[in-house]
Symmetry: C2
Subunit: 454 residues, 2 copies
């Protein structure tokens, strides 16, 4: 692979410029900003830089950018990424403007650079470099870049149902991946599912003077009570039947967990916390992170939020919640159980808005693509990766891959302090360059493998 | 009094213009807007229109406007009002701009017109009309107009301690008063106290991707748990010792409560609610409104509050709370009990910010000023008022009056739908004119009374 790696090094400034250019487009799906521009640019680059064919495939929301690059043999590796990013607020906490893509001390700061534009560009750059070095790819490559990952991939299931032919592949490299605090690359073999909802509790027809609090119900208090009914202080979700379908980790999961290094002290220090939830550590911490479903408050809103005081009895209160699901929880079933829980506990008046449902998904660690990624990571980075049986994050891996029996593996150019979904999102530029090499090496290695390596 | 009433009618357009002019100044104390302008204008008007003496008395916050007008005999009636108003948000729910003071169908819409500028101007106009009709006031009148009522009257206690001489009076007319839904004027003889606080719960040093929720504590959840520990579903405050000093209503309170008409059906219809807290009605509803202390959520804030979704684990969550207190709860003691409750229940890390403490206060219904107000209300409005033993609202009546044994009575020009502290605050213009007549009649009647009328 040295021939290809030399090309990557020669072209690295160009690849960094592509990444900066894409990061400067504020493609925030939740706010419908810059989406057309980002999709159009990526579509053109597949043609221009990867010598492939590409098109925008319309959905009921933002289009999917689809691309194909022909290889020497009839074997296909699919790359799933997304061109949308999270909103950048709270903007005043950014050290560098979130859409300027500035590089300081070898670190590139931008909303979306770790999640997921760094990986998207690294994969296109790998194809570019392989072709420049060797003239042609060893196998076919497909790109599926969606525009709604950060808003729950709402239209991706329909895309996958309607375009099975476009997805047909022998394996998939999933969108994300990070280095741990100890510098080791993480490879993960699945994702959690998700139910993202908003609960809205309404009171009187207008805000009232809070002198009325003795006799008029306060929707903020009702929301607090409803939330308290859903989860206990330890994080256990009290919704009836929530854990019914949860699969306990199996023996091979425990082996992977034991090999996994989670840098507890560094994490606590970085985050300024004294302990993890319920004081867990070691194997228990890792098992909880990877195999526990969660019910998380993403946002709380009610009444007066300005400076100083206002003595008001608000007429509405709302909460945004994400539930992360593990195999074999079904998001549709869980959504029904949440509604049932509210109804049975006297909260049938609380409105439930659904913002996205995703299935969990997992890949067998013995699969060829998993072996390719693990071995090439060691080769390119000079160190064995840690393998997570499943990521604590979420993505539409079930829709894109698992339902069609396409094994999928996550690896990418982010790191432990990349601040995904938070201010000062960043990647290390050298990780981006290494990530390009890794992707090129995986395409090459996977082309030489048979099926499962048992 | 017909001579005076004729003058009020002749001058009514002028009095309305004064009111509009004052309402067009956005004197929001919480946001330090328009405060100097409002204070300066009112101070000048006491000289110009009431032929009195006036000055701004500095405090550590906004100044108190103090005024005196000499009368024929050495007896003094004090008027306590405030020139500050609540913030106007949510501004998009206003039908007319909150600081334009427009009149539509005989109703004047403006932030602060009911609370409290309508009353402030009505009292100055009453002094003006009495003087125009009769040359001189029968007794002395004093004005104490503070600028921090809507932010908890934080510097008024020090003003009262330092300027006892300015407050010396035989009785006080308190700032507010309303007509009920049945059109009857309400007279009230006390106020609840208050503790206004913000609780701030912090988590990690930065917002995190919500995939971390399985192992990193979420401050929004901790805040929900802490809030739930403070109050049960029925509204009962679970803070240890919260009710220890509460005085139960006495027999004369029960008589007043029985005479009090609370328009339950109209209120429910107007507010779009099916029931009052815990389904109470009748005597129990009135007793709860007037004699129950409360713990109210004024505002809840955490995490992502924009459109759509963001899968974030917030690093801070906060709540603004007002506790309304009844005799003999002491706000300093209650504040200590809140802190103790948090500490004893594992929330010692939750920051508590205090924004204002106020004592409850009450006046004897047999007092001369109470009798004057009740009788003159019947005379001017042609209908007996309802007398509330205490208002469910709050104000610094203890600081200004009760600690110096000055009896205080609340009556004013607002009404049941005045929307104090809410969008579309308003008063009926005719109520304002009637309110001027009532204040003139009270000054005249009180001048002829001795002490308590038993």
């Amino acid at each position: 692979m040295e021939d290809v790696f030399r090309v990557v090094e020669k072209n690295q400034d160009v690849y960094i410029k592509w990444l900066q250019e894409l990061c400067r487009i504020p493609s925030v799906a939740a706010q419908n900003r810059g989406m057309d521009e980002a999709a159009g640019k990526v579509k053109e680059w597949i043609k221009e830089f990867c010598q492939g064919q590409s098109k925008l495939v319309a959905t009921e929301g933002f289009p999917v950018v689809y691309g194909e690059v022909q290889g020497e043999v009839d074997k296909t590796l699919l790359f799933y990424n997304h061109y949308d990013v999270q909103p950048e607020d709270p903007i005043d906490l950014w050290t560098h403007p979130p859409f300027s893509a500035e590089i300081h001390d070898g670190v590139l700061y931008a909303r979306g650079v770790a999640d997921n534009k760094g990986n998207l560009i690294a994969r296109m750059a790998a194809v570019h470099a392989l072709q420049e070095a060797r003239g042609k790819l060893p196998i076919n490559v497909k790109f599926v870049f969606e525009g709604e990952e950060e808003i729950g991939s709402v239209n991706l299931p329909a895309f996958c149902r309607n375009h099975q032919d476009l997805l047909a592949a022998d394996a998939c490299i999933w969108e994300f991946g990070y280095k741990n605090a100890d510098g080791r690359q993480q490879v993960s073999l699945g994702v959690k599912g998700m139910v993202y909802i908003e609960l809205i509790c309404r009171g009187a027809s207008t805000d009232l003077h809070s002198a009325n609090a003795a006799i008029i119900e306060n929707p903020a208090w009702r929301l607090v009570q409803a939330l308290h009914s859903m989860r206990d202080d330890s994080g256990y979700v009290k919704i009836e039947g929530f854990y019914d379908e949860v699969e306990a980790p199996i023996e091979s999961d425990r082996v992977l967990l034991d090999q996994l290094i989670y840098s507890e002290e560094e994490t606590k220090e970085k985050l300024g916390i004294d302990r993890f939830v319920n004081g867990v550590s070691g194997h228990e911490l890792k098992e909880q992170l990877i195999f526990s479903p969660t019910c998380n408050i993403c946002g709380l809103t009610s009444g007066y939020q300005g400076e100083g005081t206002k003595t008001v009895l608000p007429n509405v209160a709302s909460v945004k919640l994400d539930f992360r699901l593990v195999p074999n929880q079904d998001p549709h079933t869980i959504l029904g159980k949440i509604r049932d829980h509210l109804d049975k506990n006297g909260y049938s008046d609380i409105e439930l808005k659904e913002f996205g449902l995703e299935h969990p998904a997992r890949t067998n660690p013995q699969d060829a693509i998993a072996q390719s990624v693990v071995m090439m990571t060691e080769k390119v980075l000079g160190q064995k990766p840690t393998v997570m049986p499943m990521s604590p994050g979420t993505g539409p891996m079930y829709e894109v891959c698992q339902q069609f029996d396409i094994p999928a593996v996550s690896v990418g150019v982010g790191h432990f302090s990349s601040n995904n979904h938070a201010p000062n999102e960043n990647i290390v530029v050298q990780d981006f360059i290494d990530g390009i090499k890794l992707m090129a090496a995986v395409i090459d290695d996977f082309s030489q493998r048979g099926g499962d390596e048992l």
